[in-house]
């Protein structure tokens, strides 16, 4: 189905004229292939009449007033065609149409940000549309997959590869230094819970940063008809406060007039992790240790003999997924419906079932997802002036994941920093601290979610020129998260943390109420001038309640309720935000090829300070389509051309209670007490994002090639800076102040080409790229903000004149040739190689240890401020990113589609996983590169029998490798850690066979197709870690600051898995 929701509001109106009427019917086909086009729109604009083609490409418009009319035929991906037809009273007029493919479609009708349905050509701002029908055969299993790689400037950040893990979303980079940089999301006009994780920052429950689910993935991807994306303030002004990160609006499928049409889809899949983890390497330090190792490795080992093991790959298996979906749609002229249901089950590729466990023990940790979804949409047309829309979407999901990521009790974390020389019977991988892998696998993290989104919409046309539209909706989430360590979880007797068990829970309820009432006055002022005046009000109320608790120490096995534990703690939080806005907008058209739009929104918000009332966000835009002008003559290959320009504002409000000076509860043993909480700022106001953009859209070679460019420029003024005031002033928490400024600019390029379109072969190619430059230009005197708290291994900062989240850290002192950046002799200067050798010659295996003291290893302090950790080490956001790919249809019935994604240019990732593994004396130095270095430094080299040679030159070589490649972590944070991470990922590949029409119909079917597809097939990268797309925190985990700027940090996460899917689709 390829159509636009708002247009349906018009299309499905039932004329009440009872006399001098006829019927218009016909078939719409592809001009090149002669295939019927399903869902093409056939409209008589002057009469607001229309219809949509059925499976056979046939349309019927009834009750057409007798006379001559202009008919428009539209279909996404095809050039809009206009025909003149005369309908006689009481007769049926046939109009068959053949549409030509077009890579550019300026007549596409959009809604989001415009106030009502309007053709793209009339808008001065860019608006992206993702057509779900075009993705029908793509390997997509979630909403995150729907948006990934589709539009330049719209970025999905997957963070990790665990089953059910959500994706963070960014549009045009960072628009706030302190508030969420996620776009706001609507379904059919209703604000959606866009949270993620396990209850938020204050919840007891967490998995360590990874495996974090997104509430946006509750959206049934197969219920989506299309997604509209506003990329910034210039487009999103009418959404007001909270819209400066852009707006994503999802339109769900609607029914069409006609008999019931059933559609079914069955999908089976396999999931595998790439086996790319470097081995764990170690060696015994003594004969006794070597003897113990010999027992477990089944061969005689000597001290200092390296042993390679891989404790990670043993934990992987082949995962399995299955999805079943069904839908039915249809209707009569008075009512249409679309009902769908989907069930998705997945048992991910984490295994470990075959490991050796103590008697009576097995793994409890699991990576699984079960998700049931249902949607029902009704469109009711009581008369020709009124439409009633009712939408319902419900999801029930059960989700299990692991303790993971930068988490000392994470399963793969423990496996990765295991040391072969520490293997014992009860510690099969030789974890040196915290817990064994078996113990870690006794922990479970689960989440149960019920999520409803629904709306009632009224569209009333009291006059031909006036449309009133109201949407009233609710989005409700009930989310229960649980984290359990059962009694006696330390099955190997290794861990000392809560051995009697611990249960945590978080019960989060979120309610989003939306109302949106507006009127549109469309007036044809004269033959040359047209006007569209919009006015309205919009508001939302967001209420979130979190109840979270923890129980520690159960009296015995079998208990898994918090109340059974001897130590109990509770947390309760209630947040309410109310936003109200009124807006007005005038769109003025001249000669149907020049359009100017001006508008503004006035917003008030409960989070504003008491000294601040409301804010106005204005906007102006213009669109000029020379190719629609009477004077237009094709310019060489240019067949269509549009210029657009827009400037607008939107904002972000502070947190719900940031304006208030508050004290929080902190009981002492004596009784309840209060302590400083929030410093407060009565002058708090929203930060204001001003964005302007210039763009062109060009159709080339008879519109078979479309080229779209946009330059945008954004300044966020009065930016809310989460300022750290002196902590000795009593209030430790940061306080928002409107003192900052962020500047950003970018370019977005998009090319689509219909290279070949014949009946037997067609080739469509696309490529997009977005360039992003962004800077924190002013922190208003506030100190630099470190992301990740005082944890020194996260090196992301907000610092003036650098990109948000840029990495800063240590680098070695530059020394003259012949010297090393070490000071073994304590003379305060870098030692010469001779001095180093002299020192190394004094070492023995019992005294040698790789240097880790900052008084020995000399660090640079380029700016001389005494801080060796403030050297710029690169940014976690690339200059360029985008996607390319295409589809090839061959032998009439086969289609291959593919998509590649890439990031490149000044793009760096903090490889914290390897920083630990290469440098940490206790839980690391077990990489294939680092274990030999440590061995050689200790021994000064070994002979064939692994006897130490005490050769200072060997130690010197090891020392140089240690300093220049391996030394990392505190107090050398950032050193040898932050790595170039450019990559290209083969994201999607699919091959679809569509059964011939005749064959399908012989079985009474409407369509039948088979698809084999793969996702994340291959990664090419400069990055030396596991996967540059991994991140320490996933959607909804960590603090708000972490969510925004703890980017490009790989920390023990699961790699993005490969998925292989087989899908059968059929309908009747």
């Amino acid at each position: 189905m390829k159509k636009s929701l708002p247009l349906l509001m018009v299309l499905c109106l039932c004329p009440a004229l009872a006399w001098a009427q006829g019927t218009l019917t016909g078939t719409v086909r592809d001009a090149a292939t002669d295939d019927p086009l399903i869902g093409a729109q056939v409209v008589i604009p002057a009469l607001n009449l229309g219809s949509v083609t059925n499976i056979d490409g046939v349309y019927t418009v009834e009750a057409v007033p007798a006379g001559t009319h202009v008919v428009e035929i539209r279909y996404i991906g095809y050039r809009t065609q206009r025909e003149t037809v005369t309908v006689a009273s009481g007769q049926t007029q046939t109009l068959d149409v053949r549409l030509e493919e077009s890579a550019i479609n300026l007549d596409e009708v959009v809604v989001t940000g415009a106030g009502g349905p309007v053709e793209k050509r009339k808008l001065g701002n860019s608006i992206a549309t993702i057509d779900a029908a075009a993705l029908e055969t793509a390997p997509i299993q979630s909403f995150s997959d729907v948006i990934q790689g589709r539009e330049p400037g719209l970025v999905g950040l997957p963070s990790g590869g665990l089953t059910g893990e959500g994706t963070r979303i960014r549009i045009r980079g960072t628009a706030s230094l302190s508030q969420s940089n996620e776009p706001i999301v609507y379904i059919d006009g209703v604000r959606v819970d866009r949270d993620g994780g396990f209850g938020g920052t204050n919840s007891f429950v967490g998995s360590g940063g990874g495996g974090s689910p997104s509430r946006l993935d509750d959206i049934n991807p197969e219920s989506i008809e299309r997604v509209e994306v506003l990329k910034g303030a210039a487009a999103a002004t009418l959404y007001g406060t909270e819209a400066s990160n852009g707006v994503i609006q999802i339109f769900t499928k609607r029914g069409l007039v006609g008999p019931p049409r059933f559609t079914f889809s069955i999908q089976q899949g396999a999931i595998t992790y790439p086996e790319i983890y470097p081995d764990q390497v170690g060696f015994g330090r003594s004969q006794a240790q070597a003897d113990t190792m010999s027992v477990y490795y089944g061969r005689a080992l000597r001290p200092f003999e390296l042993v390679n093991q891989n404790f990670v790959h043993d934990l992987f298996e082949t995962g399995y997924s299955q999805t079943y979906s069904a839908s039915v749609s249809g209707g009569t002229p008075g009512i249409t419906y679309h009902v769908s249901t989907r069930w998705q089950g997945e048992n991910g590729p984490f295994g470990g079932d075959d490991r050796r466990y103590p008697v009576g023990v097995t793994t409890l940790a699991d990576d699984a997802l079960k998700r049931a979804q249902a949607t029902a949409t009704l469109n009711i047309f009581p008369n020709d002036k009124l439409q009633i829309r009712v939408t319902n979407g419900y999801t029930d999901s059960q989700f299990k994941t692991l303790e993971t990521n930068n988490n000392i009790y994470g399963v793969v974390s423990l496996a990765q920093f295991s040391r072969p020389e520490r293997v014992t019977f009860n510690n099969q991988t030789g974890t040196p601290a915290f817990a064994t892998v078996n113990e870690a696998m006794q922990q479970t993290v689960e989440q149960s979610v019920q999520h409803y989104n629904g709306s009632v919409g009224l569209n009333y046309r009291p006059l031909d020129i006036l449309t009133l539209d109201g949407t009233f909706g609710v989005d409700f989430t009930n989310e229960i998260s649980e984290e359990l360590r059962p009694f006696g979880w330390n099955v190997d007797g290794f861990s000392s943390d809560t051995p009697e068990g611990r249960r945590r829970f978080a019960d989060r309820n979120n309610l989003e109420l939306t109302f949106d009432v507006k009127g549109t006055l469309n007036t044809q002022l004269s033959e040359r001038y047209e006007s569209s005046f919009l006015f309205g009000t919009q508001g939302f109320i967001s209420r979130e309640r979190l109840e979270s608790g923890q129980g520690v120490d159960f009296p015995g096995p079998g208990f898994d309720v918090t109340g059974a534990a001897s130590q109990q703690a509770l947390f309760e939080e209630f947040l309410e935000i109310v936003n109200l806005g009124v807006f007005a907008q005038e769109q003025f058209g001249i000669n149907n090829y020049i359009f100017v739009t001006a508008g503004a929104r006035l917003d008030a918000n409960s989070a504003f300070g008491s000294d601040f009332d409301a804010v106005i966000y204005p906007k102006v835009s213009a669109s000029v389509i020379p190719s629609d002008a009477p004077f237009w003559r094709p310019l060489g290959p240019v067949s269509s051309l549009r210029f657009r320009a827009a400037i607008g504002r939107s904002g972000l409000q502070p947190g719900a209670f940031d304006a208030l000076t508050t004290f929080g509860a902190l009981p002492s043993i004596t009784g309840p007490g209060v302590v400083p909480q929030n410093l407060g700022n009565p002058e708090l106001e929203p930060e204001v994002s001003t964005e302007w953009e210039l763009g062109t859209e060009m159709g080339l070679v008879n519109d078979r090639v479309a080229f779209e460019t946009t330059y945008w420029n954004r300044t966020v003024s009065d930016a809310l800076v989460d300022r750290q005031f002196p902590v000795t002033g009593g209030f430790v928490a940061r306080q928002l102040d409107n003192i900052g400024e962020i500047k950003a600019q970018g370019v977005e390029l998009d090319v689509n080409a219909f290279v070949v379109n014949r009946a037997d072969v067609s080739v469509n190619l696309f490529a997009n790229a977005s360039y992003l430059w962004e800077r924190v230009t002013d922190l208003g005197g506030a100190p630099p903000i470190k992301v990740g708290g005082s944890y020194p291994r996260y090196r992301n900062f907000l610092i003036e004149d650098y990109a948000p989240g840029a990495n800063f850290g240590a680098k070695l002192l530059e020394v003259p040739d012949g010297s090393l950046p070490v000071d073994f002799n304590g003379d305060g200067a870098a030692d010469t190689e001779a001095e180093v050798l002299a020192f190394l010659a004094t070492l023995t295996p019992s005294t040698a240890s790789l240097p880790t003291s900052p008084s020995v290893v000399l660090l640079a302090d380029d700016d001389g401020d005494g801080d060796p950790l403030d050297h710029y080490l690169g940014k976690p956001t690339p200059d360029w990113q985008g996607a390319f790919g295409g589809s090839v249809k061959f032998f009439r019935n086969f289609t291959v589609s593919t998509l590649f994604e890439y990031k490149t240019g000044n793009y760096y990732v903090n490889n914290l996983t390897d920083a630990f593994r290469q440098a940490n004396a206790v839980i690391g130095r077990n990489l294939p590169e680092s274990a030999p270095v440590e061995r050689d430094y200790i021994t000064g080299g070994v002979d064939a029998g692994f006897n130490p040679l005490n050769d200072p030159n060997v130690r010197l070589e090891a020392l140089e490798t240690w300093l220049n490649e391996l030394l990392a972590l505190a107090p050398f944070s950032g050193l040898n850690t932050i790595k170039q991470a450019d990559y290209i990922r083969w994201r999607e590949l699919s091959l679809t066979y569509s059964a011939p029409r005749g064959f399908v119909q012989s079985y009474g079917l409407r369509n039948l197709s088979f698809t084999v597809a793969a996702r994340n097939l291959k990664l090419w990268t400069k990055y030396d870690g596991i996967d540059p797309e991994l991140n320490a925190v996933g959607r909804g985990s960590g603090s708000g600051l972490d969510q925004n700027f703890l980017d490009g940090v790989e920390a023990f996460g699961f790699p993005i898995p490969r998925r292989f899917l087989f899908t059968v689709r059929f309908g009747f």
Partner: protein, 433 residues
């Protein structure tokens, strides 16, 4: 036409009415707004808040402090602890010192703030019971003494107003503030345990002030003993005020208040749960994996047995998991203050009398000169003030070294160095930038 205008009227009503109504007034039940503190009924909650804040602060700062001594050692994954082990105590970037610093800053400010508020209630006749005020003075004194004991410098900002550092040479003045608070607390005529705690804390404050003078500007290892008459008098008064011979005043950590435990900074959690830190090798024999205590080994120098008090302290510390209480002052410390003053005066009889009063509690043989008296004093302080935040000063003044201090470390190179103002304050405070 009437029908036509009806929708206009509806929209107009929405436009006008909705923004004007009080729907924008949302409630905040999660926290207390500041105005509510003007209610004298909040007096007890204020005192409890200061107690909680001071407890949290001590729990947080004791971990980096103790790791910089021989009391705790690093056995985990977060190597900033190792830098403290090495004696690199003054690094403002150390993640743990830096993470603990704000809690100390908060506790100091809160004590001053709530003492002022409670005094205002009292001046207005609105304070029905002086106990919250007396308690607040005690907690205020504790945090001032802690700052002066553990830091080389400090700042005393007020909300958004940054203050310059007091300067290393002026840190001794903090003891005067503490002593003043204790004077005012005692002037409220408290009784029972509170009175004993106030007296004991004043003894400790006076003793610590004298000790600070021994350590600054450089440790006076040639004359390290403290002989402060005021401290001795208060110590004697504190002992006399209680019938309990082995009393101690503790800041209590309890599962009912888990937020008092700052996970990354809690000594007990790091030692008992996470196994990131361990009791130092001077005191115990570790398990084979080096992670836990196999047995307490530090012996009594006279009886040659495992020091019973230390063993019971370590056992209690281990059993408490993350909820190990923090001893602030004790009868044992009072006797140590008196004993040390006597030793400084050459009064070995009183010294032995006080030391033996403690040893009797543990069933140990009386000290009668079997070992050098100063060694006895050093040992007694090492044992009886274990994990109470006194060890680093004692190591410095007695010219001792933790076995983990590296020769290039700050503690060895610049003895007398304590914790710094950390980077979180430095970056936010223009006087330090």
């Amino acid at each position: 036409m009437k029908t036509i205008y009806r929708p206009f009227a509806l929209v107009l009503a929405l436009l006008l009415v909705l923004p004007a109504c009080d729907i924008l007034e949302v409630d905040n039940p999660n926290n207390l707004v500041e105005d509510d503190l003007a209610n004298p009924a909040a007096a007890s909650a204020m005192a409890n808040g200061v107690e909680a804040s001071v407890t949290r602060a001590l729990g947080a700062i004791l971990a980096p402090y103790s790791t910089a001594t021989d009391e705790l050692t690093w056995v985990g994954s977060r190597d900033a602890w190792q830098q403290l082990d090495f004696g690199n105590v003054n690094n403002p970037l150390n993640e743990f010192t830096d993470a603990a610093f704000p809690y100390v800053g908060e506790a100091r400010w809160l004590a001053d703030e709530f003492i002022d508020r409670l005094e205002a209630f009292k001046a207005d006749g609105a304070l029905r019971d002086d106990t919250p005020l007396a308690r607040s003075y005690l907690y205020g004194a504790i945090i001032y003494v802690t700052i002066a004991d553990m830091f080389d410098d400090f700042t005393f900002s007020d909300r958004r107003e940054a203050a310059p550092p007091v300067g290393p040479a002026n840190m001794g003045q903090l003891y005067d503030t503490a002593i003043g608070y204790l004077d005012q607390g005692l002037a409220l005529n408290p009784s029972g345990e509170l009175q004993t705690a106030l007296l004991g804390m004043r003894a400790r404050a006076k003793y610590s002030k004298a000790l600070w003078q021994k350590l600054n500007p450089n440790p006076n290892t040639g004359d390290p003993l403290i002989n402060d008459a005021g401290a001795v008098a208060d110590a004697q008064a504190a002992l006399a005020s209680s019938n309990e011979p082995d009393w101690r005043y503790e800041l209590v950590l309890d599962p009912s208040s888990p937020n008092l435990v700052v996970g990354d900074l809690s000594m007990a959690l790091q030692v008992n749960n996470r196994l990131e830190l361990r009791i130092g090798g001077t005191y115990i024999q570790p398990t084979d994996d080096g992670k836990k205590v196999e047995a307490v080994t530090l012996q009594d120098p006279i009886d040659g047995v495992v020091q019973p008090f230390l063993e019971s302290e370590i056992t209690a510390f281990t059993d408490a998991r993350q909820y190990a209480d923090i001893t602030v002052v004790s009868a044992r410390e009072m006797r140590l203050i008196i004993a040390e003053a006597a030793l400084a005066q050459g009064n070995t009889g009183t010294f032995a009398e006080q030391i033996n009063a403690i040893r009797t509690l543990d069933g140990l043989t009386a000290f009668s000169g079997q070992i050098d008296a100063r060694e006895m004093l050093i040992h007694a302080r090492q044992v009886y003030l274990f994990l109470q935040g006194r060890r680093l000063a004692d190591l410095y003044r007695f010219g001792l070294r933790s076995s983990e201090w590296t020769s290039d470390g700050v503690a060895v190179q610049q003895p007398g160095t304590f914790l710094p103002i950390t980077i979180i304050e430095i970056r936010a405070n223009p006087h330090l930038g």
